[in-house]
Symmetry: C2
Subunit: 254 residues, 2 copies
């Protein structure tokens, strides 16, 4: 076991709005938006998309579209009119997108990624790449902040469950410790949820929102842990695949 004084910090910040209060002293920021932006980014990069350029606003997305880029844009759960894709992971799991660059703007997730962009290392997390991400974070052994995307800067439950899962695994390694109440709460919430994440999140507001939009298949996909061994990383404003070999075989999504 690491000496207590050597332990690195693992903390959770629930929303981009609170990021300023938490950000000092962290080397790595993990951005998560389980429903659905960071799940879609993981699925895209895992399926062979070469680069994703996250942009915060629709005008920026339109600029890229004019330059001939493939562009995804989602607001409040729906594809923004005139764009190629929205926020569904399935739409990015397409042979024809292999090696391509995609520009993406979503309600919460891409804003969170750009909020964290001042950090020296930003990686993309979701339940889909939970174990590989934790294995990599433990190897890095640096102070790590998990930034949830929230919903319009309000607290959300699904990002908290995922953040709690990451924090729990890192604390279990004994190489990391948590001090913030947000991290303690996220860990408690994950532990209550972990046997049945899909059932637990029935009460979540965004699951209800997506159910109304007939997106239950997306939700099931996004809430199935460890279906891929890919970690997307932000490099010079572009999200690419991190070169990291991780042995376990991912579970298949049914």
């Amino acid at each position: 076991m690491a000496k207590l004084s050597d332990q690195k910090k693992i903390e959770v910040c629930f929303t981009p709005r609170s990021y300023e209060l938490y950000k000092s002293d962290f080397k790595i920021v993990v951005v998560i938006d389980v429903l659905r932006a960071t799940s879609a980014i993981c699925a895209a990069i895992d399926s062979g998309v070469e680069k994703i350029i996250p942009v915060s606003t629709i005008p920026e997305a339109i600029e890229y579209q004019k330059q001939g880029y493939l562009v995804g844009a989602e607001r409040e759960g729906k594809i923004v009119e005139g764009f190629d894709f929205g926020n569904s992971p399935f739409s990015y799991m397409d042979e024809q997108l292999k090696g391509k660059t995609i520009v993406l703007s979503t309600t919460n997730g891409t804003m969170a990624i750009n909020t964290a962009a001042d950090s020296s290392t930003v990686v993309i997390g979701s339940l889909l790449n939970l174990d590989v991400l934790c294995a990599w974070l433990i190897e890095q052994n640096e102070n790590t902040l998990i930034l949830g995307s929230g919903w319009m800067n309000k607290f959300n439950l699904e990002d908290t469950v995922c953040a709690g899962a990451i924090a729990d695994k890192l604390i279990e390694s004994r190489l990391f410790k948590a001090n913030e109440d947000s991290t303690v709460a996220a860990k408690f919430i994950y532990r209550s949820a972990k046997e049945n994440i899909f059932g637990y999140l029935k009460a979540s507001s965004h699951r209800r929102r997506l159910r109304k939009l007939n997106l239950n298949e997306d939700v099931k996909f996004c809430l199935t842990p460890n279906t891929m061994n890919t970690i997307p990383i932000l490099r010079n404003g572009e999200i690419v695949k991190l070169d990291y070999v991780y042995e376990p075989v991912p579970v298949s999504f049914k």
Copy 2:
């Protein structure tokens, strides 16, 4: 049971920093700072203090002191030098303070009260007056927002447990419903904590902070539910006792 469409809203906002995002459409705001500002205010008003004037800054507190007021000021758990009291409930439970007016400035709680002051009704909650407060809120039957004070605008666990307790009781009455994930999470956290709140909060950062300051007796007092039947209410910038008769006999604090 009330028709679903008639149900009033009960929601939880974790910190003053997020208040702007949540505040619209609520008639009543309940401010809580379990450790220790709102517990101290409840104890003071219950013990016969006539008025508490909450002020946000130390310079304001000094102004009142110059005018001859009794003034309490706390920052980071300690009494600010030169003031009469800090944030300990026990210091306000004093025969000699009956009928007196006290000015109070604390790290988080009084700022939260002043943040909510634009609302039409602001009441002061804590675990100490949990049942009487819930009974009164159910009688009012208005959209109600619970505002946690947090710690320096960060999420805190003890306010979340108390907020979850209030939300849980109001939802149980079936006259209220919750939509925000923050409320769902607070309710989950309260339900995990309720059998042993003191034990559950061992992990909380502020309990650790207060333990270091030898304030464990304060913590035990603040975490004992239903020791009084008093609801403090904000009227024209002053906190006074709400005129409300509630039958059950409060438990004694041992």
